[in-house]
Symmetry: C2
Subunit: 394 residues, 2 copies
């Protein structure tokens, strides 16, 4: 099989490394795989592939018009990559992508175009790094209803939260450390503001419920306003704060949120460093939980290679997502919230749960509908308030 | 696709129920599956399939000589089922089995016969109930080295241990409760003496390391001698007792054990009721953890159906296990042990770790090689001694 790569960053070099190191081993198992070309933005930048015969090009047409069967997208670009994937599918090429931004924003279009052209569209690496989650879900969806999906889907924010907790450090200090260690990007917005988790829960939920979910319909709160005192408060009350992505199908409604949460459930609370966890419930299998490396060069490449070998053997599941279910995305869920502000304004004052609030800097609310919470959030500047849902007692 | 079932117990009725309820749904997705015949031991016993047109027979030849492509084995019989599976494979039929006793005892023969006849041999349901573990492992093994596999693989013994712990009850009382609830069989030997876990870790390890491992080479200790006082001791020392199956590949040696263990690692210690957990480490994916229902009618049937749909689509991975690696199974591992006896004999007296033992009924040993431990075990009657490994401090 001849293939091309789009992108040669962290994951791309990982894919090339595994395919190079395992060439003989794969060949013994009947997999004869050649990377014919790698698309990069800057053709003059020196690259160091393991296989030094690999050709680099900055000209997309060389990929589009080549004889490769399959293209692996490991770019992080959104609109340009989307257009290119569509062109490649229309040219009959299978697509494997680790690009969660593209998969999330254009999930309907990508599935439809793949179906129309009868090509494979595989995106295991877009959620949960090495964790096998997309493919097992696809297998279950052939005969199962999925009821809920939740998880810790962003390793960067989990690293920050668990590190603040363990070391008693400030957010800025830990963010800087995460950046120095390569866990966080120079611009950490997507991770710490919840957008990365939002994309992943959108992908998992749309696939699971066969429903269209727009990113902007997902109630998303991040951790960028968290202070040491919020961690201390949660510790003193036997909670851990984690950024949880959660979606449930109830009746004809999908409830879907990404928000910091005060949790006691050890599944979430024990998650430290940059690990990812996913929990899925379904009709026949009951509940699964998966845990593993949510990112990393070789870990993410591992997921790409699994997709690739399935496509090689024509054993991948063809796209069946049609977004045909007319479920409404709803925010009509009641929850208690933990709210930390300097000054308590009227709207907030009214919803304080007086039995559980001893200190007006650390408020636990009554059960609130999210629409009420929104009004409260809107009465503050974005950076004045830290909000987290409080896990229901079981 | 026409298929036959061998056995119509708990899992068999689950398989029939799902295929009946989801007939239209599966058909829309291109799966046209018919159960042509069900083999049962007693043809006179009244059966209640969902599809009342299903034919039952007690005559194996009717299955063997039928035109079915695939046979699902959900018996719990060992030798007879083994012979039948071999005959069916030789007749060109694919085999799906949930029968861990057969898969474990005859793993080499079953894989070889499947390969020789170019048929599928799928056994996801034999380990970990609904948890997708065999198939993900097979996918990884196409390009990965697996280094270790460990887990809580027996729900019955885990139910007993966690229930004794939570309720402060005696072993016999909890065993009786487990039997009343259907979690334990009338003869609980396979579960509480560790043989069920032994079979599962043998299957996972043989597959992972491509090595022959005989069941009797696996150091196996059960929980049937556990007393309330052992649970109390472990609680007082901030441990939980769990029955852990563990295998590691180090150099040319495989270390493989099933034994009760005093654990602090929350992955194991938080496992309650009849849940199963599996942890796998490998070359590129790092570490995965899976968690789910280790048994149950529909849960186990779910795993069978996943295998079935893969075979239907010719997308199952063909058996590649050849047992070609000459790794030695070794017991040459050092560990501390917790030993509870009424009377301390000489052999045991010599290995007491005096820093950690305050009470001669609850002994913590020095680091022992398992051969030394064996001598100690042999100096006691089997029912006089409870032994558990002590998790290494990290």
């Amino acid at each position: 099989m001849n293939l091309a790569l789009m992108g040669f960053g962290t994951v791309g070099t990982g894919v090339e490394e595994i395919l190079f190191k395992k060439k003989d081993f794969l060949s013994q198992k009947g997999f004869d795989i050649n990377i014919k070309k790698v698309l990069i933005a800057n053709a003059n930048k020196k690259r160091y592939p393991k296989d030094d015969s690999i050709e680099f090009t900055a000209n997309f047409d060389e990929i589009l018009n080549s004889d490769v069967d399959t293209v692996i997208d490991v770019t992080s670009n959104l609109e340009e990559t989307y257009k290119r994937i569509i062109e490649l599918m229309n040219a009959g090429k299978n697509i494997i992508t680790a690009n969660k931004a593209v998969v999330s924003k254009y999930f309907e279009e990508l599935n439809e175009t793949a179906r129309k052209n009868n090509v494979y569209f595989s995106y295991e690496a877009s959620v949960g790094g090495a964790i096998p989650i997309i493919h097992p879900l696809m297998e279950e969806l052939q005969f199962n209803e999925i009821n809920s999906v939740s998880g810790i889907l962003n390793g960067t924010s989990n690293f920050i939260l668990s590190e603040m907790e363990e070391k008693g450090l400030d957010y800025d200090v830990v963010l800087k450390k995460a950046q120095d260690l390569g866990y966080a990007e120079a611009d950490p917005t997507a991770d710490v503001c919840g957008f990365d988790s939002q994309r992943k829960i959108r992908i998992l939920s749309s696939l699971s419920y066969n429903a269209k979910i727009k990113e902007e319909e997902i109630l998303t709160l991040g951790i960028s306003n968290i202070k040491k005192s919020n961690i201390e408060f949660s510790k003193n009350n036997n909670y851990n704060i984690r950024l949880i992505a959660n979606s449930q199908l109830k009746g004809e409604k999908i409830y879907i949120t990404v928000m910091p949460m005060l949790v006691k459930d050890p599944f979430f609370s024990n998650t430290i460093k940059s690990l990812n966890k996913v929990r899925v419930t379904g009709e026949y299998f009951g509940e699964y939980r998966f845990f593993g490396a949510g990112a990393g060069k070789l870990e993410t490449a591992d997921a790409v290679i699994r997709d690739l070998l399935r496509i090689y053997n024509c054993s991948e599941i063809k796209p069946f997502y049609t977004a045909e279910k007319n479920y409404k995305v709803s925010t009509d869920l009641e929850n208690k919230y933990y709210i930390s502000v300097k000054e308590v304004k009227d709207a907030l004052y009214k919803v304080i749960n007086r039995d559980e609030t001893n200190d007006l800097h650390h408020i636990i609310t009554k059960n609130l509908n999210f629409d009420e919470l929104k009004d409260i959030l809107n009465s503050y500047e974005e950076d004045e308030i830290f909000v987290a849902a409080v896990e229901e007692e079981k």
